[in-house]
């Protein structure tokens, strides 16, 4: 149930992100990069949670569901107005993606290995206990950002100034499930791993690497991520969104001027959402 809640939150975030991208995209692109849609959705979810917090609306199922419906509906309506009924759908497409190859198979093995290790919780980063996990639990119990905890004169937390995207995501999964779920929170790292691999696949396509170099690059990135994630116990780390953000931004940086369609969406939006994800995850992401 916890993992299903995580998948539901990610799916809803992806749909919201795809709608927002479709509404705001100034390029003539006809396809939305699913990885970029998820990044945009996670940033929008973070914004939604902050907005609720500012408006003193509790982080509960009904208000969050209503907020998601309003935000996604508004973005879809704006996209429809911009492009008309014959225009692009906000649904993500896979047109033009490379065919799977041996590098993708290696990446899949690395991803499964990392997911399995995360599932055992034995590769949890200590910061998950000291910072991200405890903040998510407190925010979930408070129904919003627990400022009393962050500002407690007993100094219960050492980093009250860190941004709240990661604990907010963990708390959102907890809102859907009805309680904090440690394993689901840890598996969010696997989602960012997958996002990084998907972004690498698009990057090698935009960079027009030869098939062998492209497959080798995908395999290399996945193996290094899995090696570091397992060997250095990175499950639950807030560094994953930064890694994913950097790789999602790369197609926009590599694309030739006017190559927004090739990169999968407007380059400025790609860089903007990727930067927002990194900055929202950790101060180091700025």
């Amino acid at each position: 149930m916890g993992v299903a809640s995580l998948l539901l939150v990610l799916a809803l975030a992806g749909l919201l992100g795809a709608a927002v991208l479709a509404a705001a995209d100034r390029s003539s692109s006809r396809s939305v990069d699913p990885a970029l849609a998820l990044v945009a959705g996670l940033v929008c979810l973070h914004g939604l949670l902050l907005l609720f917090d500012l408006a003193a609306v509790p982080w509960r199922r009904a208000p969050l569901a209503a907020g998601w419906v309003v935000a996604t509906g508004l973005a879809s309506w704006l996209a429809w107005r911009r492009r008309g009924p014959g225009g692009r759908s906000s649904a993500a497409t896979l047109e033009g993606w490379n065919r799977p190859g041996p590098g993708d198979a290696v990446a899949a093995v690395a991803l499964v290995a990392y997911a399995g290790a995360s599932w055992t919780r034995l590769i949890t980063i200590p910061d998950f206990v000291y910072h991200w996990g405890i903040k998510a639990k407190r925010h979930l119990l408070a129904g919003g950002i627990d400022y009393a905890f962050l500002a407690d004169p007993l100094r219960l937390t050492d980093h009250p100034d860190y941004p709240s995207l990661v604990p907010g995501l963990y708390a959102a999964v907890g809102v859907v499930r009805g309680a904090f779920h440690e394993r689901a929170a840890l598996l969010a790292s696997v989602a960012f791993f997958a996002l990084a691999v998907a972004a690498t696949r698009r990057t090698v396509r935009v960079a027009r690497l030869s098939p062998a170099a492209a497959q080798g690059t995908v395999a290399l990135v996945a193996l290094v991520l899995a090696m570091f994630g397992i060997g250095h116990r990175m499950a639950g780390a807030a560094d994953w969104p930064i890694v994913a953000a950097l790789l999602v931004a790369l197609p926009g940086m590599l694309a030739a001027p006017g190559g927004g369609a090739e990169a999968g969406g407007d380059g400025a939006m790609r860089l903007g959402f990727a930067a927002a994800l990194a900055a929202g995850a950790k101060i180091e992401g700025v």
Binding site: A113, K137, P153, A207, A213, L223, G231, L254
Partner: protein, 168 residues
């Protein structure tokens, strides 16, 4: 856009007449370097996985609290202990976390684990300057010879006490 390593995009230099074996040798060298880096990544991944599997199936290791992860024997013992304490202390109360057998730094990290497992309470380490505000005391890995207050719960790894008002 500058040419990218391994790119199939043709640059001006590539469109000039072939120079013989120089380019081929360069491509071979770049390819060999790529294969070496890939092999290094594969070996590093396998070593990390093997180390993880050894931890997974091997006997519990005695490691310091700074190397703990959820799911390990020691952290699960603490989680079980604190999970039984949680309903015995009213939410919002200040809970001191004491680990007499641990060094000061270890007690700090243990108290952070305590805060993680007792999110409804205000958990600080017993050696904290503000420990005078404590209303309850959790003693982990050892029981004090003289009870510091009313004993509310005892567990194989520790005990919970309600501190008298005068002791604060």
């Amino acid at each position: 856009m500058p040419p990218v390593l391994g790119s199939t995009r043709r640059t001006a230099r590539e469109e000039s007449p072939p120079r013989g074996g120089g380019d081929r040798r360069r491509r071979l060298a770049v390819g060999a370097l790529g294969v070496l880096v890939l092999a290094w990544a594969a070996v590093a991944f396998l070593l990390a996985s093997a180390d993880f599997l050894a931890r997974l199936v091997g006997p519990p290791q005695a490691v310091g609290v700074t190397a703990w992860s959820p799911g390990e024997y020691a952290s699960e013992r603490l989680a079980d202990f604190l999970g039984q304490i949680e309903p015995r202390v009213p939410p919002g109360r200040v809970v001191l976390f004491s680990a007499p057998a641990a060094a000061a730094e270890e007690e700090l990290f243990l108290s952070l684990w305590g805060a993680y497992h007792l999110p409804r309470h205000r958990v600080i380490r017993a050696r904290h300057p503000a420990a005078g505000a404590g209303e309850y005391l959790v003693v982990y890995d050892g029981v004090p010879p003289r009870p510091p207050g009313e004993e509310l719960f005892r567990h194989p790894v520790g005990a919970l006490y309600r501190l008298p008002a005068g002791a604060r």
